[in-house]
Subunit: 216 residues, 2 copies
């Protein structure tokens, strides 16, 4: 390909990338409300008032679209919850920041229909294929982030050495999942404060005397 031609066509993919991103942000919201399985190229085209053929240029199939949407949801999650926590110094503060960011995101509807991944998990958990694998991978990765934050807090001697990081991460995860469920299905406005209290209570029960005062 001649250099001049490459230079002329260069801006197009960049614009394409921006468009693809903005499409996917709408797709994430739509999937969080109507389910990832209901996310078809036709349904998304309706929502965006775009032609189906325009969308087919970005995503070749429903599965491609679902995979790209899952990837985008993961990026949004990293941006809003994980990155701000990693900016905290190592120790209990990082774990609390992760829990706080996570609960705020469920509460504040970063994703329009509640937590994208919890909803997608239950939708795809009895199936097989690349979409289920992508969701499971994102969730395993999130559990690992929580687990590492617990280990870091143990090393900083903020949490007792006897804490089983894997078991404890799973417990915190379950409490937040329960709150998401009660908020979404039962419209229980107290769900988030119940989860905050439960999580804080559980963390306080395993802090050491040298741990700074904590709140959530």
């Amino acid at each position: 390909m001649p250099v001049a031609h490459a230079a002329k066509t260069e801006p197009r993919p960049r614009k394409g990338i921006r468009t693809r991103e903005s499409i996917l942000r709408v797709a994430v919201d739509l999937a969080s409300v109507e389910g990832l399985e209901g996310l078809t190229i036709g349904r998304l085209a309706d929502e965006l008032r775009m032609s189906k053929s325009g969308l087919f240029a970005h995503f070749g199939s429903k599965e491609d679209l679902q995979l790209a949407t899952t990837k985008m949801a993961r990026e949004i999650f990293v941006e809003h919850i994980i990155r701000p926590a990693l900016a905290e110094p190592e120790g209990i503060g990082r774990l609390l920041k992760l829990c706080h960011g996570w609960l705020s995101h469920v509460e504040g509807h970063v994703f329009k229909g509640g937590c994208f991944f919890t909803a997608a998990s239950f939708e795809f958990d009895s199936r097989s294929g690349p979409v289920r694998d992508a969701i499971a991978d994102a969730m395993k990765s999130w559990l690992s982030v929580l687990e590492r934050a617990i280990d870091v807090a143990k090393k900083a001697r903020h949490l007792k050495a006897s804490v089983n990081a894997e078991q404890f991460a799973f417990e915190i995860y379950s409490l937040a999942m329960g709150a998401n469920w009660a908020l979404q299905l039962l419209d229980d406005k107290t769900a988030m404060s119940k989860a905050r209290q439960n999580i804080l209570h559980r963390i306080k029960a395993v802090t050491t005397p040298s741990c700074p005062t904590i709140k959530l």
Copy 2:
């Protein structure tokens, strides 16, 4: 209507009821795997190798079918989990029997694709209408059963008077929901034993000295 005619036609509705029940048991399993939203009269007819018109005689619409399926799932849940626990004497034993039955049902796949209600909850939580209301009603009722069992254990002086039954029921609920999720999505075989340990640990932390020895 002449009495003789009524006597002659009497067996038909009874047979009809049995057929409807057996259809709905298949529908519950199917919905637990593929989702309640995916449960259409056409899909169920395929699964049962019945004609769509035969099914339309039982259920007038997709929504009717979804509502009847939810009702059947609720009856199965009561039969397998709640009724055996209510046969226990009042006290900690009843609460443990409820938790045990519930975890065993998640583990043992009473519903083919895992817990029908958890899956349906996340599918319908961002929608409105009678199906969502029926699911929310079933779940509220289950939380109340757990809550009453905690109150009964408090009255029997097996659990501390300071326990907040609503908060504690929600905590136990979340831990089991987390286990269901990890088992289904991550195929985590340790999820159920983690949930058992977590729940047992949480109950033990609030028992009184007069509480009998507990295990789960």
